[in-house]
C-alpha cells in the first residue's frame, strides 16, 4: 500500500524531510517508487512565482525536441536547476539523461490572456509534450505550472532521493507532498505514480479505487482535455477535485459530499439536505467506493485530507502553528514533529475533511453533517 506524507511549513523545507518520513513508514511500502510535489517554492524559484516551471524526465533527443517546441511556442527559459546524477544509477533505478526542472518566461502574446485562458493553455502544452513523448518515451512530463515542481522515479524513495541529490540547500519548498510506492495494480509507468497534478491541484491516494472504471468513463466523457491518463486508478481523485472546483464552482468542503455522499437518512436531517441530495444524484457517477485516504493541495496552497465512506484507511494530521504534517501513518508524524502537542493530533473520520489553510495556523475540520455554504 502507498505511504503518503505531506507538510506545510512557514519555513522552507527540504524534500529530504518528506523522504525521511516515507522511510520511517517503509514497513508499509515496497520501495518501488517515489513521487514528490513541491509548491510555495523557496530558493531561486522564490522570485519567479508567476513563471511556469516544467518538471519531467527527458532523454537527450527528447530535450532537443522540447527546446524546438518551446521556442516555437515562444517560451524562453528563465531559469533551470540542474540535477546532476552519478554515472551509474543504484540498483532498481533506471538510467535517465535529464531530470528537468526549468522555469520559462511566458510568450509576449500571453500577456493579454485572462487567468483561466492561461490555465487552459498551460494544460494543453503539458498534454502536447506528454503526447509527443509517448511515441518514443523520450519525454515524460509531470507538471507545467507556476510555482510547482514534481519529481517521480522508480526505486526506493531514500535511495532515489540521495541519488538525485535532493538534499541541496537551494532546493526547498513550503509545501511538499511525497508518496512512496509505484502503482502495482497496473503496469509500472511513471505516469501511474502519485501525486497527480492538474491545473494547480495535486492529490495522492492510497488504497484501491473500486469504482475506477465508471468514474474514469464519466470524466473522459466530459470533453475536457486534461481528463486523460488513468494509468492509475487514483488519478481520478485529482480530476474529481478539479471538476468540483473548476467545473462545478464548489469548494473543498463539497468534495467529500461528491466522492462519499451522506446516506439518505442523514440527508433528510441535514440543513443543506435538498442541495446535497441533488448533488448526490447528479454526481452519482463520481462516488468512490474504495478504502482510500486522499491527501492533496489546492491552488490556494491549502492542504487537505479526506477518507473513504467507511474510513478503512488510517490518516493523521498534526503539528504546530506554522508547521503541519498530513501523514498516512502516525509514526511519520512522530518522527518529523516529535515536539508537537499530541493531544491536538487529528485523525479524520468518515465524514470529515481536515485542512490547513495557507496561513498554516490551525487544523480546520469540516464535517459532512454541517451546513454547506455555497460560494457565490
Amino acid at each position: 500500500m502507498c505511504r503518503l506524507f505531506a507538510l506545510t511549513s512557514e519555513e522552507p523545507q527540504s524534500p529530504m524531510l518528506a523522504i525521511n518520513a516515507l522511510d520511517v513508514m517503509r514497513e508499509g511500502h515496497d520501495g518501488s517508487g517515489v513521487g514528490i510535489f513541491m509548491t510555495d517554492l523557496a530558493g531561486p524559484f522564490e522570485d519567479m512565482k508567476k513563471q511556469p516551471i516544467l518538471s519531467g524526465i527527458f532523454s537527450n533527443a527528447g530535450l532537443r525536441k522540447l527546446d524546438t517546441f518551446m521556442m516555437e511556442k515562444g517560451f524562453m527559459t528563465k531559469y533551470k536547476t540542474s540535477i546532476r546524477v552519478p554515472k551509474a544509477p543504484p540498483p532498481g533505478v533506471p538510467k535517465r539523461d535529464t531530470y528537468l526542472i526549468r522555469a520559462y518566461e511566458y510568450p509576449e502574446e500571453w500577456e493579454q490572456l485572462t487567468e483561466s485562458e492561461i490555465r487552459d493553455r498551460l494544460l494543453l502544452i503539458r498534454l502536447q509534450l506528454r503526447q509527443m513523448g509517448e511515441e518514443t518515451g523520450d519525454m515524460i512530463v509531470f507538471s507545467f505550472w507556476p510555482d510547482v515542481i514534481m519529481i517521480k522515479e522508480i526505486g526506493d524513495p531514500l535511495t532515489v532521493a540521495e541519488y538525485l541529490g535532493l538534499d541541496r540547500e537551494d532546493f526547498k519548498a513550503r509545501i511538499i507532498l511525497a508518496q512512496g510506492r509505484q502503482n502495482t495494480n497496473y503496469a509500472i509507468n511513471l505516469y501511474a505514480c502519485h501525486p497527480f497534478f492538474i491545473q494547480g491541484i495535486a492529490t495522492m491516494t492510497n488504497g484501491e479505487n473500486t469504482a475506477f472504471v465508471p468514474i474514469k468513463e464519466f470524466l473522459m466523457s466530459r470533453g475536457f482535455p486534461g481528463y486523460i491518463g488513468y494509468q492509475s486508478d487514483s488519478e481520478v481523485f485529482t480530476h474529481i477535485l478539479h471538476y468540483t472546483l473548476f467545473k462545478l464552482g464548489l469548494d473543498i468542503k463539497a468534495y467529500k459530499h461528491i466522492i462519499t455522499p451522506l446516506q439518505d437518512e442523514d440527508l433528510e436531517k441535514h440543513p443543506s439536505g435538498y442541495f446535497l441530495k441533488r448533488l448526490k444524484h447528479s454526481c452519482r457517477r463520481l462516488i468512490i467506493d474504495g478504502p482510500n485516504v486522499v491527501i492533496g493541495c489546492l491552488p490556494d496552497k491549502t492542504l487537505f485530507m479526506v477518507h473513504d465512506r467507511k474510513k478503512l484507511r488510517p490518516g493523521v494530521v498534526g503539528g504546530k502553528p506554522g508547521f503541519y504534517v498530513f501523514s498516512s501513518e502516525m509514526c511519520a508524524l512522530d518522527a518529523i514533529v516529535p515536539d508537537r502537542d499530541k493531544t491536538k493530533d487529528f485523525q479524520p473520520m468518515y465524514i470529515d475533511t481536515a485542512f490547513v489553510g495557507p496561513d498554516r495556523q490551525e487544523v480546520n475540520i469540516c464535517r459532512q453533517t454541517e451546513p454547506l455554504h455555497l460560494p457565490h
Binding site: 473500486t210 475506477f212 468513463e217 464552482g249 457517477r285 474504495g290 467507511k310
Partner: protein
C-alpha cells in the same frame, strides 16, 4: 385403436406427445383427484379390459382364460387435450401414483398444434434453456490489495435512480435559478416488471401489491412494480400506495379512461409512467389478453365488453415517427401529472435500440429506457414470436450503455434491463451482471411468478398455458375456482422473502468487489467470461 381403425395425419400416440403420464395401478386409489384437477383434461377415467390366462395343475381342468375389467387413468392423445406437464395430478395424488414424464425425444405434437390454421399461442418464455447471464463471473475480488467489504456488517446503499438525471453543471445552474428539473425517484434496483391486472389473477396482483407495500413501509426498501397494460384497480389509484406503482400505458390504452378519471382524486403521484412500445417475449406484437380471461371485473377496469379477446396493436396507432412518438407521448404524459412524474419508454430488445436511445438523449424529458430482452416472459403470445423474435439483453444493454458513455450521458438516462433474469434461479447474479454491464436496474416478471406464487412454467415447455386462463396455481387465471388456490397473504410473504434474499445476495456479490456506497453501474472491470467472442463483444475480460 383397433388395427383397422381410421387414422388421420394428426392421430398421435402417447409416445408422440411431449409429456407421458406414468400411472401406477398398484398405488392408485381411484380417488379421481387427478382427473378433476388436470387443467387441460389430458387424463380421464380409463376402463381397461384384460385377459388373464388360467392354467390349473392336473389334468381334470383344462387351461382357459377369463376377461377382467379394471379401472385407471387413460391419457388422451387428441392434440387439443395433450398433457402440458404441469404435474398437478402428481401434486394432488394421495399415493404418488401418477406423474407426467418428459418424452425422451422431440415430440410430434408440435407439428399438429395449429388446427384450424391457428398457430400455437401460449404463455411463458422462450423455450431455450441457455442463459448467457449465468456464464458471467465476478472476477475482481478485493483481498490483500484492499480489504473486502463485509456484506453482513458494513453499511450499504444499493439504490438506483429512475428519472432524467442532469449533468452536474446543468443541475447546479438550474438549482441556482430555481428552474424546473426533471423528477427523479430513488428506487430499489430490482423492480417487478409489467404484468397486467388481467394477465394476472386478482389474488396474484393483490399479493404482489401487499408485498411491495410491506417492503416499502416496514422494511424501507423502495421496491416498485409496474402495472402492465391493463389499468389499475380504482381503489389503488386513489390510495397512498399508488406511489409504489409504475403505471403503464401501451398501444391498447386499456384502463386509461379509469386512470385519467381518477387523476383529480389521486392522493399521491405514481412512481412513474412506463410507455410500452415493445415487449421482449413478443417483439413487434401487442398485448394479447385472450377472451377466456376477460370477465366482468377485467372488462370494467379496462373499459371493454366481457368475453372478447383484447389484442393490442403492435404500435401506438397515433404516431408515425419516433421523434413524434417520443416527444408527444412523453411530454403529454408529463403534463398529465404536472411534470412531477418521470415518464420513460420500454422497448423490446432490438438492434434498433441505439436509434431509440439516441433520440431519447435529445429529449430532455425522457426519464429512462427499459429494454426487455428475448428471454422475457408473457401471459400470451404466438409461440413463433416467443421462440424466435427478439434480441439478447446483454449485448443490447452493453451497447446502449457504451453509447451513452460516448455521449457523456451514462446514467443520465438510466437503462433498465429485463428478460430472462433469474431464468435458472440466479436472480442476484444475473441482475448484478446486467448492472455492471451498464443497467441502472432490472425488471423481473416470470421469476416473481415462480418464486412468489409457485408458477410451474419452464423453458422445457412445461405448463405455459397462462394465455387460456387455466393456470393450475391460480396465478394467471380469472376463474375464481382456480385463483382461490392462491392466498394473497402468502404471495406477499414470498415477495418479501424474495427481495430480502436478493438484497443479501447482491451484497454478497458487490461487497467482495469493494462496492457498497453506490450501485456498481457499468463496473465492467469486475466481469469475466470464459468465451473469447462474448468477452470481446461485451468488452469484459476473457477468463479461463
Amino acid at each position: 385403436m383397433s388395427t383397422n381403425g381410421t387414422i388421420t395425419p394428426s392421430t398421435l400416440s402417447v409416445k408422440d406427445l411431449p409429456w407421458q403420464i406414468l400411472w401406477d395401478k398398484d398405488k392408485c386409489t381411484l380417488c379421481g383427484r387427478c382427473t378433476s384437477v388436470c387443467p387441460v383434461n389430458a387424463i380421464e377415467l380409463g376402463v381397461f379390459r384384460k385377459r388373464i390366462i388360467e392354467t390349473p395343475l392336473g389334468l381334470e381342468e383344462t387351461p382357459g382364460n377369463v376377461y377382467k375389467v379394471f379401472y385407471g387413468i387413460r391419457q388422451k392423445t387428441d392434440p387439443a387435450y395433450a398433457c402440458v406437464g404441469c404435474a398437478m395430478c402428481n401434486l394432488v395424488c394421495p399415493n404418488d401414483a401418477i406423474i407426467p414424464c418428459r418424452s425422451d425425444e422431440a415430440d410430434k405434437l408440435r407439428f399438429h398444434i395449429n388446427r384450424g390454421g391457428q398457430p400455437r399461442r401460449r404463455g411463458g418464455r422462450r423455450n431455450v434453456d441457455y442463459s448467457l447471464l449465468d456464464q458471467i463471473k465476478f472476477t475482481r475480488i478485493s483481498m490483500l490489495t484492499d480489504p473486502a467489504l463485509d456484506a453482513g456488517r458494513h453499511e450499504f446503499e444499493l439504490r438506483t435512480l429512475l428519472g432524467r438525471v442532469l449533468p452536474p453543471e446543468e443541475d447546479l445552474k438550474l438549482l441556482k435559478e430555481e428552474g424546473w428539473t426533471p423528477p427523479v425517484r430513488e428506487i430499489y434496483p430490482l423492480m417487478i416488471g409489467a404484468m397486467s391486472f388481467g394477465a394476472l389473477s386478482p389474488n396474484m396482483w393483490e399479493g404482489l401489491q401487499m408485498g411491495i407495500a410491506y417492503l416499502n413501509e416496514e422494511l424501507g426498501m423502495p421496491v416498485r412494480m409496474c402495472t402492465g397494460e391493463g389499468g389499475c384497480p380504482p381503489r389503488l389509484l386513489r390510495s397512498r400506495f399508488l406511489k409504489y406503482v409504475i403505471l403503464q400505458i401501451a398501444s391498447g390504452y386499456f384502463g386509461w379512461d379509469e386512470i385519467i378519471h381518477a387523476l383529480p382524486e389521486m392522493k399521491e403521484d405514481p412512481c412513474a409512467i412506463e410507455i410500452k412500445y415493445g415487449q421482449g417475449a413478443k417483439p413487434g406484437d401487442g398485448g394479447l389478453l385472450m377472451w377466456y380471461k376477460v370477465n366482468k371485473l377485467i372488462a370494467s377496469i379496462r373499459g371493454v365488453p366481457q368475453g372478447v379477446s383484447l389484442p393490442s396493436p403492435p404500435t401506438h396507432q397515433t404516431k408515425y415517427s419516433i421523434e413524434e412518438a417520443v416527444a408527444k407521448m412523453i411530454q403529454s404524459m408529463y403534463m398529465a401529472w404536472g411534470f412531477r412524474v418521470p415518464v420513460y419508454p420500454k422497448i423490446s430488445g432490438t438492434s434498433t435500440a441505439l436509434a431509440v436511445l439516441n433520440n431519447l438523449t435529445r429529449n430532455p424529458y425522457a426519464a429512462g429506457l427499459a429494454i426487455d430482452g428475448e428471454d422475457g416472459g408473457t401471459g400470451a403470445a404466438y409461440n413463433v414470436s416467443m421462440n424466435h423474435m427478439g434480441h439478447p439483453i446483454a449485448s443490447n444493454i452493453r451497447d446502449c450503455y457504451l453509447n451513452l458513455v460516448k455521449l457523456g450521458k451514462q446514467n443520465e438516462i438510466p437503462l433498465f434491463a429485463g428478460g430472462g433474469i433469474g431464468k435458472h434461479g440466479n436472480l442476484a447474479a444475473n441482475a448484478a451482471a446486467l448492472i455492471m454491464l451498464g443497467a441502472s436496474g432490472v425488471q423481473i416478471g416470470k421469476y416473481i411468478m415462480q418464486a412468489a406464487a409457485g408458477c410451474l412454467g419452464s423453458e422445457s415447455d412445461r405448463c405455459n398455458i397462462c394465455n387460456i386462463g387455466l393456470c393450475p396455481k391460480g396465478i394467471t387465471s380469472q376463474d375464481p375456482r382456480l385463483y382461490r388456490r392462491l392466498d394473497p397473504e402468502k404471495v406477499a410473504e414470498r415477495v418479501v422473502d424474495v427481495f430480502l434474499a436478493f438484497d443479501t445476495e447482491l451484497k454478497k456479490i458487490v461487497a467482495p468487489l469493494g462496492r457498497s456506497t453506490s450501485l456498481p453501474i457499468g463496473m465492467s472491470d469486475a466481469l469475466g467470461i470464459n468465451d473469447k467472442n462474448i468477452a470481446d463483444r461485451l468488452q469484459i475480460k476473457y477468463v479461463v
